[in-house]
């Protein structure tokens, strides 16, 4: 049994709240953040999204950035979440100099590229956003804003990006390569992704219904979340919010975008996470499922869960109906929710569910539920077959 890597801070912004407390309250009261796009300028105004109703201008003001900044929306959201996490962990400026930063991000600053694609040639003012297209640039903006000067990298494995960032951070601390590292991810709504998922015909025109027999696709969302991970030698006196005890990464190797029917990648990721935690599957008290509400994912994930947990399937739910699918940020956002579950001994509900899938007969948790918990498993799966599972554990005093 692994003691796990200590988590000493967390920060989040999503369509259900601008910080941890607001997110927690919304989860408890079942207040989802799904609405029609207002900030994102798109003709698809009929597609529900998990949009954060704060404009870039307001976010810039909140962060106190200079006029000629080159922050993408993902960088703005990431900076807000990162700041909250660092504040909670009480990391000093001196410590930040050798702190690492590992961020998951999928489309970087494509929001700016799509806005300025035809303008770059005409307007020299905006050319500072040319480099901003690439995810590494967004990561650099956040790390500079947060004054982090250690090892900085970006992981881009589509919807499992930030889960992999958390995994890498935990591995680097375990291997003694870093003392502390800020891990997580960020992604914003863009026309690019909205039209992309729409062309795949996996966006729902109603609020998404994870694990429901009549699920009709996902809602895209946006947000950012980061955790502060610290090696045990450096956490004297700090509150430990929870620990990462296990992680597993596998590839489905089935299709560029679809998951295999048996959920092979998901199955392997969960198995590996259990193995690296050194626990058997019956120790898991709750599964924070990927549950995007597409026909394909939810069936494939359910089958994988059935295969891993056999007869006794723990309580599970997907929070995608609250936030929408926040792509690269999803793993980190749900890591924060998993830690909130552990801290408060509560399972957050799977909204909009009415009937079990006929193939599996599985029912997620439908209302806010109290339960004593030691271990939470959180799944994140993405395009390219990238599947990652993380296991969080209550800190033992």
């Amino acid at each position: 049994m692994e003691k796990g890597i200590a988590i000493t801070g967390m920060g989040i912004i999503s369509s259900i709240g601008n910080n941890v407390e607001e997110n927690y309250n919304a989860l408890c009261f079942g207040q989802h953040g799904i609405s029609f796009p207002e900030i994102l300028k798109t003709r698809h105004t009929n597609l529900p999204v998990g949009e954060i109703k704060i404009s870039n201008e307001e976010l810039v003001k909140k962060l106190g950035l200079p006029k000629n900044h080159a922050f993408t929306r993902a960088a703005l959201l990431g900076s807000i979440a990162g700041k909250e996490a660092i504040f909670q962990a009480g990391i000093t400026e001196a410590e930040l100099k050798e702190t690492g930063f590992i961020s998951g991000n999928s489309v970087g600053g494509i929001d700016k590229t799509e806005e300025y694609f035809q303008e770059f040639a005409k307007n020299a003012e905006i050319r500072r956003f040319i480099k901003a297209q690439h995810p590494g640039f967004t990561t650099g903006q956040i790390s500079n804003y947060l004054k982090i000067h250690g090892f900085v990298t970006t992981i881009s494995t589509a919807c499992s990006s930030s889960a992999n960032a958390i995994m890498l951070g935990a591995r680097m601390i375990k291997a003694g390569k870093l003392k502390r590292v800020i891990v997580g991810g960020t992604d914003c709504l863009t026309k690019f992704t909205l039209n992309g998922f729409n062309s795949l015909m996996i966006l729902s025109s109603e609020n998404c219904k994870p694990f429901d027999e009549c699920r009709s696709g996902l809602n895209l969302g946006e947000g950012a979340a980061y955790l502060v991970l610290e090696a045990d030698e450096y956490i004297a006196g700090k509150q430990v919010l929870g620990r990462i005890t296990g992680y597993g990464n596998a590839n489905d190797a089935f299709h560029q975008t679809a998951s295999s029917e048996t959920g092979e990648g998901a199955f392997l990721a969960m198995k590996k996470a259990l193995k690296s935690s050194g626990i058997s599957s019956n120790k898991i008290n709750y599964i924070n499922a990927h549950g995007t509400a597409t026909r394909n994912n939810d069936l494939s994930e359910s089958r994988a869960i059935q295969r891993v947990f056999d007869e006794i399937i723990p309580e599970f739910s997907s929070v995608k109906a609250f936030t929408g699918h926040t792509l690269a940020a999803a793993g980190a956002i749900e890591a924060v929710y998993s830690l909130l579950s552990l801290k408060n001994n509560q399972i957050f509900p799977n909204l909009n569910f009415s009937s079990e899938m006929k193939e599996t007969g599985l029912q997620p948790v439908l209302g806010l539920t109290s339960k004593n918990m030691d271990y939470v498993l959180s799944n994140s799966f993405g395009f390219g077959g990238n599947c990652t599972s993380l296991i969080f554990r209550r800190d033992e005093k």
């Binding site: 062309s199 299709h255 560029q256 679809a258």
Partner: protein, 85 residues
């Protein structure tokens, strides 16, 4: 009638980048998926866009494609019956 089939073949070759194929290589009753032309689920989504763009036919469920994209003949029949442009 046969014009529609020929145009359909040309569009499919172009849209799906079937560089190795000529219009004559595709038989009207040949299976488009599986053992025939060897198309896959990504191609099916491309064909749905093609139907909407060129013939004004809007499918809302990817599943619907399965009954339409069986062969050039079947596709042509469906287009004749449902086209809006």
């Amino acid at each position: 009638m046969s014009d529609l089939r020929t145009r359909l073949k040309q569009s499919i070759i172009e849209q799906l980048n079937l560089e190795e194929f000529e219009v004559e290589d595709i038989a009207n009753d040949e299976a488009l998926f599986g053992d025939g032309l060897g198309l896959d689920s990504i191609d099916a989504l491309e064909l749905i866009v093609l139907l909407e763009k060129e013939y004004g036919i809007k499918l809302t469920e990817p599943q619907q494609g399965k009954e339409i994209f069986i062969s050039i003949d079947k596709m042509a029949e469906y287009i004749e019956a449902h086209r809006t442009k």
